[in-house]
Amino acid sequence: MEFGLSQEQVMLQASVERFLAGQGGLARTRKFVSDNETRATDVLEGLAGLGVTGLIIPEDFGGVGLSFLDAAIVAEALGRYVTPAPYVGTAVLAPLALMRAGNESQKTHWLPRLAAGEVVAGVAISESTGARGDAGLTLKEGKLSGTSLFVIDYEADVYLVADRDGGLHLVPADAPGLTRTSLRTIDGTRPTGELTLDSVTGEALPGSCPAVLRELIDVGRVMFAADTLGAAQDMLEQAVAYSKERKQFERAIATFQAVKHMCAEMVAALEPCRAMVWYAAHALDALSAEASVTACHAKAHLSEVGTLVARRATEVHGGMGFTDLVGLHYWFKRIGFNRQILGGPQTVREDAARLQGFAV
């Protein structure tokens, strides 16, 4: 009985965090955003050096063959440092799709490149969790047409796209008939955008099936939940530290009961989320019967708690929290992004209800 992280996992997370801190943390993020960078190559290379880009890819294909729990604690670290690097798409979902549904030549071609960080893969599956307007991709006579919005890790070399029937395809960024349009969101650390396909010839993953798409969604949701965990934990810590420093009425504001209770409410809501994210990630690895419902709950619950913490931590900072000076808003906005991507809380909870047969 050992519910928690192994020594190796603690070390993995620590080494990623050490790298992210060393690489500049918030300063690096600010630069990425203000310079309109599209790919933080230095960060990506550093992460590749730590094995992060090949984290879940089997060793046979050049990766390190670790678990979803390992992937989740890396996501947590990236959230904590509001890191502007591609991850959930390129390091988790795209490799996973290839591992589950790719044929040998696809695996042999793509997985080692992804593992090495030589190639970045975007993932276009957001219509599978709810299509806005007329978005959606249709496969007709082997050609893909339509639009897919909110591509995860949009600034990519190749895209994994899902069609309306759940089929998965690889589409290179320079494929004829593919038009890319960048979409700016509040979260400058997560480039996103839309793909418009006009009779594009993609490369189908032959093992595609609803179960694989389902797993992609589940895994993606847990990763964004983990990202929120890290971001919210950092905001909480910043708020507590600030409250001990900041003086008003001749005393540190941390001595005011209202401020203490705001912080207590934050940690009381957030701390159980840590175990929840661990459990949900472990369920992806080892408890398949529970994995989908647990992923939904982790995503929805972390979104709600993350929103609460983002707001309260800002409030504890008073006016400073609202400014760009302390940069707290990078975390606030990242949590906001994580809330909506792959389905907002209500959408995801309805999914949980459906999975249990409570709704049609």
Binding site: G130, A131, R132, T192, G319, D324, H329
Partner: protein, 392 residues
């Protein structure tokens, strides 16, 4: 219970409507008539600076809250500019009328009303936010001048303003609230540096202002030395309620309603989703409560009654409600609700995200929600003030 405004006021409303209809082509717009000419016309006809004495450049009418409300309602309904606002007109002018010298009134009120003299407010400092009275910007009397050194923050329009009204500590030996003076000075005085303060919405809605040996003539003080706290406090309260106008909230609810009818998710209007619909109804109900409360406040003002705690809760409830309203819009839009700035597919010109963040700023600004709750408990419910701390 009588929600009508009565025949005299209904006639005034007709007049107002007719004026707007006849003159709206003169209202300011990019490339069109200027805001200053429009302001002059409005003052001349009594739709701006209505109750300011003619001697100081106003229209000189007797105060009539309903007429003021009617003017506000009808200009809003017609979506025509109601003239100039800003902290000079809304805060400094009433202050001068109450506490200024005759010379100050003559010098400052007219140009301010006409829009020739724009003001910014120098109150908050980095270490004096909720605890404003701990402000440390120093004013020392050197010869005939105040010599000012220090820093202000949250100064909106500092980069546009001609003048500042400013709280400065002039009596360092006096008790905290008794050592402050209220000074007026030109923003062109040497020694003033303005730095824009970018906030989470991405805009620089505010500034930091730094003072290095700024010289202000001794007579540019309102009230007496050390009386600045009382001067400032008499108008601070006016600022708070205005941050959460329920009629603005109602138009946001209506915009949200329209959006929920037109946006689709998986091919169905979002309004068909019972959960979002229920959240919309919750918000609509809460906005209705605040609108009713606002009617009560208006009625109390007209009938010169003290609205008591009903007025004190407006800022706390209104800013929170507005923040939640915007949050619902973002949830309803899902990933589309994340879009911000110059981007395709942007909804509502980005106003949902902007106001979601901006109203979090307002929950904090103008007296944080925590400070508001202290005030409501102490002044509204008669609960004791925070117990005094032992001097450590």
């Amino acid at each position: 219970m009588d929600l009508s405004y009565g025949p005299e006021h209904e006639a005034f409303r007709q007049e107002t409507v007719a004026f707007i209809e006849a003159n709206k082509h003169l209202a300011p717009r990019p490339g069109g008539p200027s805001a200053l000419a429009w302001q002059a016309l409005l003052i001349d006809r009594g739709y701006a600076a209505r109750t300011i004495p003619r001697a100081y450049g106003g229209y000189g009418a007797d105060p009539d809250i309903l007429k003021s409300r009617i003017i506000a309602e009808e200009f809003a309904r017609a979506q025509v500019s109601p003239g100039l606002g800003g902290q000079g007109i809304s805060m400094l002018v009433p202050t001068l009328l109450e506490m200024g010298t005759e010379a100050q009134k003559v010098q400052f009120i007219g140009p301010t009303l006409r829009g020739e003299m724009l003001w910014c407010q120098g109150y908050s400092e980095p270490n004096a936010g909720s605890d404003l009275a701990s402000l440390a910007t120093k004013g020392e009397l050197v010869g005939e001048d105040w010599l000012i050194n220090g820093q202000k923050i949250w100064t909106s329009t500092a980069h546009l303003a001609h003048w500042m009204f400013c709280l400065v500590r002039t009596e360092p030996e006096a008790a905290k609230h008794e050592g402050i003076s209220f000074l007026l000075f030109s923003m062109e005085t040497p020694g003033i540096e303005i730095r824009p303060l970018v906030d989470m919405t991405g805009a620089a809605n505010f500034n930091e202002v730094f003072f290095t040996d700024v010289r202000v003539p001794q007579h540019q003080i309102v009230g007496r030395r050390g009386q600045g706290w009382q001067v400032a406090n008499s108008i601070l309260r006016h600022e708070r309620g205005s941050l959460a106008d329920p009629n603005t909230m109602l138009s946001r609810v209506n915009a949200l309603t329209d959006m929920m009818k037109s946006e689709t998710l998986d091919g169905r209007p979002v309004m068909d989703n019972p959960i979002y619909r229920d959240r919309l109804m919750q918000i609509q109900g809460r906005v209705l409560a605040m609108r009713c409360n606002d009617l009560r406040l208006l009625s109390a003002a007209v009938n010169r009654q003290n609205p008591g705690v009903a007025a004190m809760v407006v800022k706390l409830q209104g800013t929170e409600l507005r923040h939640e309203l915007e949050a619902l819009a973002i949830d309803v839009l899902g990933e589309l609700g994340l879009l911000y700035g110059d981007t395709p597919r942007l909804r509502g010109h980005g106003s949902w995200q902007r106001d979601y963040m901006y109203f979090l700023g307002l929950i904090i600004g103008g007296g944080t929600s925590q400070i508001q709750k202290n005030i409501i408990a102490e002044r509204g419910l008669g609960m004791p003030r925070e117990a005094k701390l032992a001097t450590a």
